[in-house]
């Protein structure tokens, strides 16, 4: 199985690579469109500020490629947010894969949310074998509201989407690579999705 982690200079890609290694697979870091298109699984990471990450993605010419991919794609954290229509952070236009606008937490909670929260109302194969209310690790200031593509929900002042799914595209607001054994199971579920 060829697993590509998109390397566009905005991510904790080493941690994801190591997490996949612990599952017994090897992931390749790449920004080469041909290599990405030929992969069986694509992981789209992202950490940092949205507008600068989007700029880096555009500079590497990968912004148009990602939404055209046909194999399973997993956006993590900022990666997931960039797959949405728009994010309030830096007033950034996203890839438009998930039909939702990402907004800043604004309901009397500390921002950023840092730590372990719970996922609920779990849908799709991504959460096979994962119990409701399992804890996952999050660190973020912006969130995707609940929409029809929502496949996991979390409460932090407001109920919001901690995972999204549409066709071959998946996104998690949480970091599966940092979410202990629960996260490893979710990553394994993603790698097991048929293509």
């Amino acid at each position: 199985m060829r697993i590509i982690i998109i390397d566009y200079g905005a991510g904790n890609i080493q941690s994801i690579k190591f997490a996949i290694q612990r599952l017994g697979y090897e992931a390749i870091l790449s920004n080469d469109p041909k290599e990405i298109k030929a992969a069986d699984k694509v992981i789209f990471p992202g950490v940092g500020e949205a507008s600068s990450a989007m700029r880096k993605l555009k500079d590497s010419g990968l912004d148009t490629l990602i939404s055209q991919l046909k194999q399973p794609v997993l956006g993590i954290c900022l990666g997931m947010q960039l797959m949405c229509n728009h994010t309030e952070e830096g007033d950034t236009k996203g890839l438009g894969i998930f039909d939702v606008d990402v907004v800043r937490f604004n309901s009397g909670v500390k921002v950023p949310q840092i730590g372990w929260n719970q996922v609920e109302a779990l849908k799709t194969a991504l959460f096979d074998g994962i119990a409701e209310k399992e804890h996952i690790y999050l660190v973020h200031s912006y969130y995707a509201p609940i929409v029809k593509e929502t496949v996991a929900r979390t409460m932090y002042g407001v109920e919001y989407s901690t995972a999204l799914h549409k066709d071959n595209f998946y996104g998690t607001q949480f970091h599966p690579e940092k979410s202990s054994v629960v996260g490893e199971k979710i990553l394994m579920n993603f790698l097991s999705i048929k293509y």
Partner: protein
């Protein structure tokens, strides 16, 4: 519900774990990667590595250590100690650290916080503040608490939040090493004044101290070293008792 975090802190010197009593008289408490693995399996929510080496090779030793930890550990970890530039942070994050903490370098050059937050995002920038009371006022200290500054703890904490810190790690030098509990009054004020998470540090001696720092100190996370390293408190027992006190934890 967002849970309260329990964070073992590993003080690192030349690639080995140490823990000082009041930051002096260091004792060896093991291999950092092995300890990190043990703690992640024991239910720690996060780890902090604080490098106190003063050698020429310290940057390289630390970045190699970060890589080894990232390879092995499936929970988030923060790295601090002597970080003073964008380049320092870049290497550590690229090697798999989730967050970095800056302390003295931020006091000397507050603009560093803005620069780091702009480049890497607030969520991975923790500002560590060491303070102790002088004549009833909380004064920020440098060099492991030895050198007083002109800064008031609460004013400095508000400033680092405005400059883009994602989190504050507050160590009370009056409490550190005493095992008599955290600085809950100051912690509660920080939590009330600021809108970013606060990690309580310094003074953990027993499980009740953790209950108190979450209830009275309103802390979002609690950090400790020797009580974990010397197995005076097991993380599982700690979390079970926190849950018995209606404090949300990940079990």
């Amino acid at each position: 519900m967002l849970t309260k975090r329990i964070i073992p802190c590993l003080d690192i010197k030349n690639g080995r774990t140490v823990k000082g009593v009041n930051f002096v008289d260091l004792r060896d408490a093991g291999d950092p990667v092995a300890l990190a693995d043990i703690y992640s399996k024991a239910g720690a929510d996060e780890l902090v590595f604080l490098d106190i080496s003063a050698t020429e090779e310290r940057r390289k030793t630390l970045s190699n250590l970060v890589l080894s930890v990232a390879e092995k550990v499936n929970i988030p970890f923060t790295v601090g100690g002597g970080i003073s530039s964008i380049e320092d942070v870049d290497v550590l994050l690229q090697n798999g650290a989730d967050k970095v903490s800056v302390n003295s370098s931020a006091v000397k050059n507050p603009q560093l916080i803005n620069d780091l937050a702009a480049k890497f995002g607030s969520q991975c920038i923790t500002v560590a503040i060491d303070a102790k009371q002088i004549g009833g006022e909380w004064i920020v200290h440098l060099v492991g608490g030895k050198v007083p500054t002109a800064l008031n703890l609460f004013e400095w904490a508000s400033e680092v939040e405005k400059r883009g810190a994602g989190e504050i790690l507050f160590t009370s030098m009056d409490h550190d090493g005493t095992k008599e509990g955290f600085a809950n009054t100051a912690l509660a004020r920080l939590s009330q004044d600021l809108n970013i998470p606060i990690i309580a540090s310094g003074g953990a001696g027993n499980i009740k101290h953790f209950v108190d720092t979450f209830k009275e100190g309103k802390a979002d996370a609690a950090l400790a070293a020797s009580v974990f390293h010397f197995k005076e408190i097991e993380i599982k027992d700690l979390k079970e008792q926190l849950q018995d006190h209606d404090i949300p934890v990940r079990l």
